[in-house]
Symmetry: C2
Subunit: 216 residues, 2 copies
Amino acid sequence: MTSQSISTRPPRTGEAIRILDEAERQILTLPTGKLRVVDVAAALEMSHANVYRFFKNRDDLLDGLVDRWLKDGEARALAAIEMHSAFGDQLKHVLLSLHVQTRAKIASAPGVIDIYLRALNKRTEAVERHRTFLIGICADILARGINDGEFAIKTGQIAPALILIESATRKFTHPLLISESLSEDTPAEAERVLSFFVEALRSAPQLFSASERQVT
Amino acid sequence: MTSQSISTRPPRTGEAIRILDEAERQILTLPTGKLRVVDVAAALEMSHANVYRFFKNRDDLLDGLVDRWLKDGEARALAAIEMHSAFGDQLKHVLLSLHVQTRAKIASAPGVIDIYLRALNKRTEAVERHRTFLIGICADILARGINDGEFAIKTGQIAPALILIESATRKFTHPLLISESLSEDTPAEAERVLSFFVEALRSAPQLFSASERQVT
DNA sequence: CGATTTACATATTTTGTATTTTGTAATATG
DNA sequence: CATATTACAAAATACAAAATATGTAAATCG
């Protein structure tokens, strides 16, 4: 079993999903992330006040959108993970899959990045949850890979290894950097970085024992 | 000898430097990067038109500031490089020094980040030059480390190694990511990432031969 | 005549106001 | 009585006018 995300809030139901759907539909056509509650309500032929029965305010609606994007990405990334028997390949798959999906989402409409960045700057609950989820999954894969003998690092090295990998893959996880590098082949680049770390986990465990130093 | 930066433009002289100095002084007190040419001129007791004899336009002045910041960083990073005899330590020193300096600059005033990002988005000549410089220096250190026997990779692996390191250290070089993580101990984090790569260059050269793969 | 300033047209920013949107509470509907 | 709508105050946004800044060319200074 994989470490599951703890939904801090029950998933949206019926009407709330219709609202999210319409909001997302409008984002795809809008030139920026300036979604209007009135427009969403109008498109659904309901009064805008009714939207507030399902979302505390506009930000809550946007947060809901991001939450759904992140959860969707997580689900897809996990869904295909079984294609890979090696744990190193699973690790690569999860991180690369999330990169590719986020990239595609951001590329699909100019407004998407605004909404992502809003959530990021606000340190939304959803964003925090996603980070926890991701680290949890990776920790899990590392632990199992160690147990299996595929990874040569020791259990005590999991935490430092995760920090290292998280730092080094920031270019592929941060929405703004993704949007800045849409013209590059970042999936290929990410693949190389991840392959590097996976190979290191397998054959160069000593690299994961950090030493510190002082510099000006 | 180290590969030197080719100044595409002669360095600013006399009056231009006074203008840059005053502009920088004002940035430090301004709440954003919205520097006004008239204010700089007024502080120097000259007409604003006179500024245009030294800078083509306002953007050119801002670009000049960034150029100076970058060159200054490069010079400082190189100046202390001789403290380290090992090439791996030199590599770490250069990248870490630039990170620490940029971080300090960004932390010194809220307006600084605006000016950095403007230059980055415009893909200023100075920014391009800096990138070329940095890659050149690193390539140089790698080549010399290989020659010396300290690094175990082959000459043909320099290019892929550089790409890898550049991607993986983006968190420590991109102004926005730096400004977003001012509350974290990113110098320590950078140190760990760099130590990892240096140690890999020394003892795990096979990691730098990339293989590709396909993922959804 | 070279260096600098004034004068000026154009562009940008700011200000104040009208309009729209948000969010809530009171009201209606089935 | 649960669900939705209308009505309304507060906040945000859009817009037009005024003020200010930018960038250039003609005028002045030494």
